[in-house]
């Protein structure tokens, strides 16, 4: 290195190099600490305030177990519906270009930012007894309002954008050459979708499904307005928590703790499964 006798050169350059990262590193550490404790503390508080005995006894309460069973059933159905219909739809969005595509993508994301109350009203306006499809549904003997099916509809409505968005990104990230090569090797477009696109996009698809399932499990506002809060029919865990919250706060806490445990267990399971399905960077 050529050292010219200037002011900056007389100072050892190492202190200049180290001075900046130090305060920045502190800033990063502080911001991370605040973020983590803010996010983790409330969750921790649920468990601090709930004794182990209380947890077990609330599992003996039929209202809690019914709500838990209903939540698991409806979210399983909602997630299955989202995967079955959403996967080909996301593939179409990722591989086709058509006029108005940007508009379609925006419409898909709309339920993400819609307030839950608005989502409930919107579902009623569409599928409610006096909604635009109300007559047709009644004619087909399909009842949604105050029915378990209505819970699933509300969950699919709010959760599917999460999956569609992630699945579309996962499909769009596949090297076009892979799909082209599959076709030249004799696979039809449908065959290529099943044999190459879905397996290669699988890490993104599972992550998207986990997110969608989590959103469906937490669904509250739209369900309450569209399907109501009837025990054993439409009262999922979030609705049961809300009801207990007014009468019996410790019971609400215990149920919340159970929901946290179930969600965490499913997320970890998905991570593990996705980890074995994923194949590192080659998956992109």
């Amino acid at each position: 290195m050529i050292c010219l006798p200037t002011a900056s050169c007389r100072r050892p350059s190492s202190t200049v190099a180290r001075a900046r990262p130090l305060w920045f590193a502190l800033l990063l550490a502080l911001a991370s600490a605040i973020t983590l404790s803010f996010l983790f503390l409330p969750v921790l508080a649920i468990f601090v305030n709930t004794g182990w005995g209380r947890l077990v006894s609330s599992l003996g309460n039929s209202q809690s177990t019914d709500a838990l069973r209903l939540s698991l059933e409806t979210t399983a159905i909602a997630t299955a519906v989202i995967a079955l219909v959403g996967t080909p739809a996301a593939y179409a969005l990722a591989t086709r270009s058509f006029p108005g595509k940007a508009v379609v993508l925006t419409v898909i994301e709309l339920p993400l930012v819609l307030p839950p109350a608005v989502a409930g009203i919107a579902l009623l306006a569409a599928f409610g007894p006096s909604g635009i499809l109300g007559g047709a549904l009644k004619h087909a003997h399909i009842a949604l309002v105050f029915q378990t099916a209505g819970v699933v509809v509300a969950q699919v409505f709010v959760a599917s954008p999460f999956y569609l968005r992630m699945a579309q990104t996962a499909f769009a990230g596949i090297d076009r050459a892979l799909l082209d090569t599959s076709r030249t090797l004799g696979s039809t477009e449908a065959g290529t979708f099943a044999r190459v696109a879905v397996p290669v996009a699988m890490p993104g698809l599972t992550a998207g499904l986990a997110l969608a399932w989590g959103r469906a499990l937490g669904e509250f506002g739209a369900t309450l307005m569209f399907a109501g809060s009837l025990e054993r029919v439409t009262q999922t865990v979030p609705l049961a928590i809300y009801e207990e919250f007014a009468n019996d706060f410790p019971a609400a806490l215990a149920l919340s703790a159970i929901l946290v445990i179930v969600s965490a267990a499913v997320l970890v399971a998905v991570r593990l499964v996705a980890g074995t399905v994923a194949f590192g960077s080659a998956g992109r």
């Binding site: 050459a177 076709r183 030249t184 090797l185 039809t188 397996p199 960077s281």
Partner: protein
């Protein structure tokens, strides 16, 4: 015989090409990126539709826009190897090879796939995932996979580009043997003329969607029809104005000073080209002039060792490059800033109209 006439667009470049490749022959499409090379392969494979065109392979018509014929790619049976080889990342090597063998039974598919891998010396890597294979191994798996479907033509996109320079020479030899042995028309695209010359029986130089010149590699190098082709074959290109003088020789007044002579005919604005290895360097005070010998005083700008040779970047009004042996470079005491005489024969000077 593969016969393709394609008209379409690549971005904002108009594509219009006609290509013909006989059985057992390899045509190398060589050109810079953005010339439309990959698009041409896709149009022949059927994964992209041209605006208009015809593609025939043997007695099959794959595409005829006038008659509304457009076979989907799965019915064309092209052995397509995309750039970076396009191995399916979720499948083991043998399953990649077996991908196209769908109408045969399960055990038969595995047997056939292993047989092909064996032929490429990769039987021991059969159950390896693509990400654990080396570049050369990936290329061989991709070739085995393309050959597994008993293709009617081979389409290779930059087959050597993904390999490091050590693996490239071996892969090129192997690939040349495969292409010769396949007995079907093959079309490969490359951005490197030398790669095209190495692998192709003929080279078609393509730029901005059009074939500029087509012929045997040595023909293109010896008689480029355009300055672009000359430059692409690796020659030094200088511009100037030509006029006829002194009997059989053409004299070219070079832009920015100096003159050159050539045995090729030419008049008006021209580009002359000469290969770097035809240019010899000597000390500046060297005398003796011979009309059949071109001489330019040049300033050494850069020195790059390539194997036992040295590429010398020179400035003589226009930039030029000479390639000399390591020994010659040492004898001359070549260094940046040294003034030297660059000389080459009039017979080694190609003249193209500009």
């Amino acid at each position: 015989m593969l016969d393709a006439e394609l008209i379409g667009a690549v971005g904002d470049v108009e594509l219009e090409v006609a290509l013909r490749v006989s059985e057992g022959e390899c045509l190398a499409l060589a050109g810079p990126s953005g010339a439309g090379k990959t698009t041409i392969l896709r149009m022949i494979a059927g994964t992209q539709a041209p605006a208009r065109g015809r593609v025939r392979c043997g007695d099959e018509v794959w595409l005829d826009s006038q008659r509304g014929v457009a076979l989907p790619p799965e019915h064309r049976r092209c052995g397509y190897v995309p750039q970076d080889h396009g191995l399916f990342p979720h499948l083991a090597a043998w399953r990649n090879v077996a991908y196209g063998l769908r109408r045969t039974g399960r055990s038969e598919r595995r047997r056939r796939a292993l047989e092909l891998l064996e032929r490429f010396g990769l039987a021991h890597r059969a159950s390896a995932r693509p990400e654990t294979l080396s570049g050369g191994e990936r290329q061989r798996v991709a070739l085995a996979r393309a050959l597994a479907v008993d293709p009617r033509t081979l389409l290779l996109d930059e087959p050597l580009a993904a390999l490091d320079s050590r693996a490239r020479a071996a892969a090129a030899r192997e690939l040349a043997a495969v292409l010769r042995g396949a007995g079907i028309p093959s079309l490969l695209v490359t951005h490197d003329f030398h790669e095209g010359a190495l692998l192709g029986d003929r080279v078609a130089v393509i730029d901005r969607g059009r074939v500029i010149q087509e012929g045997r590699p040595e023909e293109l190098a010896a008689a480029p029809r355009a300055a672009f082709v000359a430059e692409f074959t690796g020659a030094v290109v200088l511009t100037g104005r030509a006029y006829r003088d002194r009997g059989p020789l053409t004299v070219i007044e070079l832009d920015r000073g100096g003159t050159a002579t050539a045995t090729d005919a030419g008049e008006g604005p021209v580009a002359i080209s000469v290969f770097p290895w035809e240019i010899t360097l000597g000390p500046c005070d060297e005398h003796g002039h011979d009309s059949a010998q071109n001489r330019l005083i040049a300033l050494v700008q850069s020195l790059t060792a390539v194997g036992n040779r040295v590429r010398v970047g020179l400035e003589a009004g226009q930039p030029l490059v000479a390639e000399v042996t390591q020994a010659a470079a040492e004898d001359l005491g070549l260094r940046v800033g040294l003034e030297v005489t660059a000389s080459w024969k009039a017979t080694a000077t190609r003249v193209t109209a500009r």
